[in-house]
């Protein structure tokens, strides 16, 4: 966290044209889990513009290293080693500092470590698939992991998820709370996926596709993907209404 005074303005209205609608029948589970009534619009009150903040003291050194945080001593998980990094920004382009970012994923074979998961690809005894970090003063984050594999799911008869990493992000206000998924550049499965296709805007989908970033790759160790996440921006409250810093 920085010494800047906290911002207390309400958040920009959410642009629903770039978000998936609740009812997206190509993704079958959404059919019975989507509200049919309109959302009631509400400009953020204190209850929405505030939100929990998690200090860096929450973190352990391996929380953002999925290669090591579940591995048995002297062993390593199998699969392509990658660094995932980027910034958490808001719609004004400001870095969001102190943002808790949680992530989870399948292993290299597309198998999740979850008791309700029964895909025949095996569990990797050295890979848990969970991590977290908190952005620095510029909104920057990074973690090391194994690139996940695609996996099949019971939606259509032959539906497969593209390789993806789930992200859960806390900004500074509870209105900014966001869960999304990161996809990988060049994966042809992205454009087949009913969950991806719940997003009505092609450019919005492309913003969820992380670019291969050879500049940040670690030679003879791991390649890198860069993934920026944008949270809602916020207005200045009146007493902060000056040009500089806005």
């Amino acid at each position: 966290m920085t010494n800047k005074p906290p911002e207390t303005g309400p958040f920009f209205a959410r642009d629903h044209s770039i978000h998936p609608p609740a009812y997206a029948p190509g993704y079958k589970t959404s059919i019975l889990r989507s509200p049919q009534r309109a959302l009631i619009s509400l400009e953020g009150t204190k209850s929405e513009i505030t939100g929990p903040v998690f200090g860096h003291s929450l973190l352990n050194p391996l929380d953002n290293d999925l290669i090591l945080n579940y591995a048995r001593p002297g062993e390593l998980p199998i699969g392509p080693r990658i660094l995932v990094h980027g910034r958490v920004l808001d719609e004004r382009g400001k870095g969001v500092d102190g943002a808790l970012v949680e992530f989870w994923q399948a292993n290299a074979g597309g198998r999740y470590l979850h008791k309700k998961e029964s895909y025949l690809a095996p569990v990797d005894p050295n890979f848990g698939g969970v991590g977290r970090t908190i952005t620095d003063a510029d909104g920057y984050y990074w973690f090391k992991t194994i690139q996940p594999g695609a996996y099949p799911w019971p939606n259509g008869v032959n539906d497969w998820r593209p390789a993806h990493i789930h992200f859960s992000v806390f900004g500074h206000g509870f209105s900014q709370r966001l869960i999304t998924q990161m996809y990988f550049e060049g994966d042809p499965m992205i454009w087949q996926c009913p969950i991806v296709k719940t997003i009505p805007d092609k450019a919005a989908i492309e913003r969820l596709v992380a670019a291969l970033d050879m500049t940040s790759a670690i030679p003879m160790d791991m390649r890198a993907y860069k993934f920026d996440i944008v949270l809602r921006g916020r207005r200045s409250t009146l007493f902060e209404n000056r040009t500089e810093g806005n």
Partner: protein, 206 residues
């Protein structure tokens, strides 16, 4: 043509999926040893917190009346005096023995979620009127493409609820009871959430 505005676009939401617990409550699904404990688990208060201890229980139901057994519920609320434990709280300092935020994965067999918290105080609306005591809920799950926001109000706060500026925004008054918890034994409240059709809970675009 005119100058571009240069605002960024928010990242699009995607469903949390059926395995959200791996990332958000890993110990709950048996992934032990990565985090000492699941974030947001346990009571929202610690010893010395002010206010009335309450328990909230509820279940999320789909449009066919089936309980969701894979939802993740988060709550965010003020302390007993109506202050939020957040840097954006400018009116005073919140109770340092109260976090204000909690997370529950629900029971994997029944879907019932439980929060041990305190009853929040009143918080002012932007024009200075008081909002009735309430707790913000956020629901994500497989099949939910963007997290759903709602509020839980308290049944014994009839007077405050009647003048609450947010409840007043709900045009269809028969829907208001979906936002008001039911009192059970002692200090326990039940707040069931219906995603769709009969008795559909009011959700907000906040």
């Amino acid at each position: 043509m005119v100058q571009p505005l240069h605002y960024f676009k928010e990242s699009a939401s995607q469903t949390a999926g059926p395995y959200v617990h791996i990332g958000c409550t890993p110990n709950f699904v048996g992934i032990n040893g990565v985090f000492a404990q699941d974030l947001g688990s346990g009571a929202l208060y610690s010893e010395g917190a002010n206010g009335e201890r309450i328990t909230i229980r509820g279940t999320v139901y789909d449009g066919a009346g089936n309980a969701l057994k894979d939802a993740l519920i988060e709550i965010w609320q003020a302390d007993a005096e109506g202050f939020y434990n957040s840097p954006s709280e400018t009116r005073g300092t919140a109770d340092q023995n109260f976090s204000g935020w909690g997370r529950s994965p629900g029971n994997m067999d029944t879907g019932e979620f439980v929060f041990e918290t305190i009853k929040p105080g009143k918080v002012p609306f932007k024009d200075g009127r008081w909002m009735a005591p309430h707790i913000t809920f956020w629901i994500v799950a497989r099949g939910i493409n963007i997290g759903l926001h709602t509020r839980m109000y308290f049944p014994e706060e009839e007077e405050a609820n009647a003048t609450d500026p947010v409840l007043a925004r709900v045009e269809h008054k028969p829907r208001l009871p979906t936002l008001i918890a039911k009192k059970e034994d002692g200090n326990t409240y039940r707040f069931d959430i219906r995603l769709q059709s009969e008795g559909e809970t009011v959700f907000f675009d906040i």
